[in-house]
């Protein structure tokens, strides 16, 4: 009954109507297209070209990973998709609309969780930040409880984020992104600064959330295992300025399992293919 309209500008129709904690039906994600996308960023020597002629498209509900050597512009690409960086040429189209600001129905999860959680707000009030003023209070409370349950942190609602471990803080940030009922989730190395065990735990949580939510996810990482384990397709960025070096499908069934999936021969093949793609790109200067 609660069609949560946190801004809705998608041409593909209404936001996910959701019933209870199960989330919306799969297939309600947004389509994403990058068309001849180029991004220049300011640097000491004037403008530096980071991305050049990046073209790809992501189907609604697809889980796509972006990998590349460090400094290859992965984060810049994600920021351009999220409307946080203006392209210098080309365009990003999300849900049929050209992106010029953070698009409706899109949640962004940043790498550095501690610098995007407000220390003077409790976990619950950090999560509600994007809903305040847009929904009536009781509804906000319900959504906060729902998304905190999804990330397993309902008991920590009244705790301050800096009292939590890194993994838990990142869960808070994910919950906040989920509170917007995103049809597209943009994640920038969300598990990059977590230890290996916590990282696997969060990867599996994300899998569950993905299968319940059915939204599109674009996931930046520098971890080849992570990208193969989580994604349907892997976009490899390479070059200076970077462009799409390869797009590798991951034909592994879901749900995936940390032990059995990773032992699978297909997994190993895809992993090798991604590894090769990253290193066979054009010669790069600089790191």
């Amino acid at each position: 009954m609660t069609t949560v309209s946190v801004g809705n500008g998608s041409a593909s129709g209404e936001l996910a109507g959701k019933d209870g904690a199960e989330g919306s039906a799969p297939g309600s994600g947004l389509a994403v297209q990058a068309v001849s996308l180029a991004v220049d960023l300011p640097s000491k020597e004037g403008k530096r070209s980071v991305l050049r002629d990046v073209t790809f498209s992501v189907e609604p509900g697809e889980f796509v990973g972006i990998v590349g050597p460090s400094g290859s512009g992965k984060t810049t690409l994600l920021r351009a998709l999220g409307g946080l960086v203006r392209p210098s040429a080309g365009k990003v189209v999300i849900g049929g609309l050209e992106v010029s600001a953070p698009p409706d129905g899109t949640g962004i999860v940043f790498q550095n969780y501690s610098s995007v959680l407000l220390p003077w707000r409790t976990v619950g009030r950090n999560v509600s930040l994007g809903l305040e003023g847009k929904l009536p209070r009781p509804e906000i409370a319900a959504v906060v409880d729902e998304v905190l349950t999804m990330v397993g942190l309902l008991d920590y609602k009244d705790e301050y984020p800096w009292r939590l471990s890194g993994g838990m803080q990142q869960r808070v940030q994910i919950a906040r992104a989920l509170s917007l009922k995103p049809q597209l989730l943009l994640m920038d190395e969300p598990f990059g600064s977590l230890d290996a065990m916590t990282r696997e735990e969060l990867q599996d949580s994300l899998q569950t959330i993905y299968s319940n939510l059915g939204s599109t996810i674009i996931f930046v990482t520098h971890d080849i295992d992570e990208v193969v384990y989580l994604c349907d397709r892997v976009l490899v960025l390479d070059g200076t300025p970077a462009s799409v070096a390869d797009m590798i499908p991951v034909p592994l069934p879901r749900p995936r399992d940390q032990i059995y999936t990773k032992a699978d021969a297909t997994y190993q093949d895809v992993r090798r293919a991604v590894r090769v793609a990253i290193h066979s790109g054009p010669a790069r200067t600089g790191g």
Binding site: G82, P102, W120, R176, L180
Partner: protein, 260 residues
């Protein structure tokens, strides 16, 4: 536990008491110098005499009335200054255009010693509570303004991006993210402003209105009452410390000043 450890635990538990050790020793030395006749500087007075004088002034009600006046005017002008400084600081901090156009004026004003306004205020409004309020306000706007601007400008870039990604309105971003994130810096400015405000109000009392604690101090000087002058000096010092402590205590209840 060794003796050293016991001492450091004790000092850590009572930091104020520890800080008072040196002061108490100095006062004791001062008193002994008088009582034992080591030195009795002419324009001075022993602590016991000053305490008696304070008690005297307190008993006839003068001190309470003067203290209330000085603190009242100080707090009032500080409140004006803080209201103006915080609003202006947020505005200047958030808008590059406003910053560009106001930068040199603010730089000039904040460097100008507030006391130079005294003759101008005398000429325009005369010596009155109004004049004290105006000087106290003008002089103490700058610390809170400068520190608020600095606070806004040091709001992490990630907070702005987070607010944008959550599609927060400009107003919500200001009220829920930027203002709280700059609060710690602004609070430092507020504390400095409180001192400046008191300084200027007392100057006005001393050179102009002859009221309040500043007026009392100048009166005692006119009467060549050394003990009275010292009495006012310590009462003014005590009031300043009390105001500062009250503000700090209030700050402990502001969640925005909370840092993980």
């Amino acid at each position: 536990m060794s003796r050293d450890e016991r001492w450091s635990t004790l000092l850590a538990r009572y930091p104020v008491a520890a800080g008072l050790v040196v002061t108490s020793l100095l006062v004791l030395l001062w008193q002994m110098s008088w009582s034992l006749g080591w030195a009795r500087p002419q324009s001075s007075s022993p602590p016991s005499g000053i305490v008696a004088e304070i008690a005297d002034l307190a008993r006839n009600g003068a001190l309470l009335q003067q203290g209330a006046r000085t603190i009242g005017v100080t707090v009032a002008s500080w409140t004006f200054a803080v209201s103006i400084g915080l609003c202006l600081g947020l505005l200047v901090g958030m808008s590059r255009t406003v910053r560009r156009f106001t930068f040199s004026s603010i730089e000039f004003m904040r460097c100008l010693p507030g006391i130079t306004f005294v003759p101008i205020i005398l000429l325009i409004v005369g010596f009155s509570v109004k004049g004290e309020l105006i000087l106290g306000t003008i002089g103490s706007i700058w610390p809170v303004l400068i520190f608020t601007i600095a606070g806004v400008r040091s709001v992490p870039h990630s907070y702005w991006e987070m607010a944008r990604s959550l599609q927060m309105s400009r107003r919500d971003t200001l009220v829920k993210v930027v203002a709280p994130a700059s609060a710690a810096s602004a609070f430092v400015g507020m504390r400095i402003s409180l001192g400046v405000s008191m300084l200027l109000v007392i100057i006005m009392e001393m050179v102009g209105t002859s009221a309040g604690l500043g007026g009392g101090l100048v009166f005692e000087k006119g009467a060549v009452n050394v003990e009275g002058m010292f009495a006012y000096l310590f009462v003014i010092g005590g009031s300043a410390v009390a105001l500062n402590m009250a503000l700090q205590a209030a700050g402990k209840h502001v969640p925005w000043l909370l840092r993980g």
